[in-house]
Symmetry: C2
Amino acid sequence: MNAEKIPDIIIARLPVYLRALQRMADKGLQTTSSQDLGERVGISAAQIRKDISQFGEFGKQGTGYSIPYLINKLREILKVDRMWDVIIIGAGDMGHALARYQGFADRGFHVVMVFDNDKNKIGHKIGDFIIEDTSHLVEKVKSAGIKIALLTIPATVAQEITEKLVEAGVKAILNYAPISISVPKDVKVQHIDPATHLQRMTYYL
Amino acid sequence: MNAEKIPDIIIARLPVYLRALQRMADKGLQTTSSQDLGERVGISAAQIRKDISQFGEFGKQGTGYSIPYLINKLREILKVDRMWDVIIIGAGDMGHALARYQGFADRGFHVVMVFDNDKNKIGHKIGDFIIEDTSHLVEKVKSAGIKIALLTIPATVAQEITEKLVEAGVKAILNYAPISISVPKDVKVQHIDPATHLQRMTYYL
């Protein structure tokens, strides 16, 4: 199993499988098949078998997959068999929503700090956090060894903050700012921009 | 130009090009090249030329692309040369953030209604909207002819609400609920789930 050899498009599907499997486990289900899982996630059974087989032999012909076993394997592969501390930069509406989001904890993530550069926000509470000053971002993130950041700031400051995050040792950025950001090769970025996602669908309307 | 013939992966990149071009236009820039645009969005110049050429001959060898012309063409291709009414289902933190989001209007979208099933929320204001009762969802959406919905509701009710939206004639759903939803073939779905996006990156950490 060589991280470099698995195409990113496969990696992108694993969290979707994991999410569906976790829901099945919550309902008390014990086993599944690639057909069943496929129907739940809208991906073909053949694709699922092919994706999962990249990482080893996890199912049995005829009896299918053990849900708890496959969950454990996927969590291990995706490295969410541990908790990751994450920070939020930007205490606007989206930062608020993410700071209070209940869906991180059981999927491997724990928000530990929220930053903003607005003097009217610094020191105030957001969910369980005191909003901290972005001027202390690099030192705080570096000393806490944090690797993951959520960026919910205006496009105009996104690149500048990204560079601070990279300097602080952050290796994964979930970018809600409506702009592409440049990072070194060893830093991963995912973009969430509702207007971009919508425009991708209007094409078909 | 046949909508069926262009791979979805190309369609997915066009909104990213459009977003970058709009930022360049905001700065007063008039022309760009595939190299310049590529650096801004982190996609190779060759890929950009290939993607754009699917839709016609929009640039000139040596002089590059006219930014306003390419913006108009991309807006036309993505059908955001008009305004689309969209609704939000779910008046929680994420619904609030989206109802107040300033980034929709200049990219083709206009939030017109917000729904929730919580009696404590119905009738209250969220941004400029009065929260409406989801029990009126089908009739209201159908009579307004709305085609696009943002789903910010719990996973447990996502499929049930999706079926109401489909019944009401919605053809594009941006799903923030942490679950895959099933829709007929003529309905498009995009998923936004921060934990899934993060798990896609932790693999590489």
